[in-house]
């Protein structure tokens, strides 16, 4: 399954938010990927997520595939929508 989300927090998907995102994705068995501008990377890889260079206001696609894909997708979307607890 695939869902588009917009990164709303100020720092974008860098440093702490990136670590939180990867940590959350790693909790699930399914494959989780993040896609930006046609580049697709493993959401369980911190270097991968950082290399995408996702800033505030950027749209990304979260792609989950596997047994617990629904749980993973819900958790990650919720995390992004919560602005990673910033503000």
């Amino acid at each position: 399954m695939k869902k588009e989300v917009t990164i709303l927090n100020k720092t974008g998907l860098h440093a702490r938010p990136a670590a939180l995102f990867v940590h959350e994705a790693s909790k699930y068995k399914c494959d989780v990927k993040v896609e930006k501008d046609g580049r697709e990377i493993n959401a369980k890889s911190i270097m991968g997520v950082l290399s995408l260079g996702v800033g505030q206001g950027t749209k990304i696609n979260i792609i989950a595939d596997g047994v617990d894909e629904k749980e993973a997708m819900d958790a990650l979307v919720k995390l992004v929508e919560s602005k990673f607890g910033e503000e």
Binding site: S26, R39, E40, I41, N42, K44, S45, I46, M47, G48, L50, S51, G53
Partner: protein, 308 residues
């Protein structure tokens, strides 16, 4: 098809703009080029589509010929030429465009650049550049290290110890290309090149420590920008009844972008030093490449003893 920003195109090919046009991007469909001498002479057969989508390279001959034409004929031919939806025109030898050409380019919104290179040299440079732009590519999860000159991509699931293996290889004097994300390009029929995403180049993540800068820590000798992918090492948890290669005669391959890359499946277990195993794999790869195959040599020796 590839799309390149006009500013990058200008910088990469060392061009100077004559007329920029309104688009800030150029669509590249092919790495073929065309010298439009015949079209300037009013021969437009086979020009539509394929040939008109190529970069149009103008050298001294074409330019001299254009200058021999009467103004109205020149206008008419160039108008017809640019009407084919030309991608872009590049004039070599630092020559300037004739006024009729700029006029027609403006009318059809087609950029014109000039290069100070000689036409043939420019063409080989352009073909190489276009080929690398159009090369099929993909991103893989893994490490890429240069071990004794052999480009080894280490793959395996998260947390199996890929980064740690790469780190130990760096400690032992080998060079890191990229940690965790390998951007792969197929540059020739049988050749893959891997490199790091520019933003995270030569950084590495080690669980428990965080992000480290390999270049700052180990120096310029510990890193390399890109490397061919000569073999793949797949790390996996030890499977109890799986038949691992004990002799070294099972030729296993992994297909990446249509290239068959030799692969070794290495089981991970306490007490197995993965960095040393990787070094040995690299040495063995080089021996095999130079025509020495240890299992075959051993078989020969045993056969010899039996027959003596």
């Amino acid at each position: 098809m590839a799309c390149v920003k006009v500013e990058d195109f200008i910088m990469d090919l060392e061009l100077e703009p004559i007329y920029l046009g309104e688009n800030d991007k150029i669509d590249i469909e092919t790495s073929d080029l065309n010298r439009p001498g015949l079209q300037f002479a009013n021969f437009f057969d086979f020009f539509a589509k394929e040939t008109s989508s190529r970069l149009q390279i103008i050298g001294q001959t074409e330019m001299t010929y254009l200058k021999t034409l009467d103004t109205n004929v020149c206008q008419e031919r160039l108008d017809k030429f640019f009407d084919f939806n030309i991608t872009c025109v590049i004039i070599c030898r630092n020559m300037d465009a004739v006024p009729e050409m700029i006029e027609a380019a403006k009318k059809h919104n087609c950029p014109i650049f000039k290069s100070n290179m000689v036409t043939t040299s420019f063409m080989s440079k352009a073909i190489e550049y276009l080929n690398s732009l159009l090369a099929p590519s993909k991103t893989e999860h893994g490490e890429l290290v240069d071990v004794y000159g052999v480009g080894i991509m280490i793959m395996g699931e998260s947390g199996i110890g890929k980064s740690e293996t790469a780190l130990e290889l760096i400690e032992r004097g080998h060079r890191l290309v990229t940690d965790d994300v390998v951007e792969i390009k197929k540059v020739a029929e049988n050749r893959l090149i891997g490199e790091a995403p520019e933003s995270t180049r030569h950084f590495m993540e080690i669980r428990g420590i965080g992000i480290i800068d390999i270049r700052a820590m180990y120096g310029i000798g510990a890193v390399i920008k890109n490397k061919t992918i000569d073999m793949v090492i797949s790390l996996e948890h030890w499977r109890k009844n799986f038949m691992y290669d004990r002799i070294g005669t099972n030729d296993d391959y992994i297909n990446i972008l249509g290239v068959e890359v030799p692969r070794l499946v290495i089981p991970v277990r306490p007490g197995r030093n993965l960095a040393i195993i990787t070094e040995v794999a690299a040495r063995n790869f080089r021996l095999k490449n130079m025509g020495y195959n240890a299992p075959l040599e051993l078989a020969k020796r045993i056969n010899g003893e039996i027959h003596d």
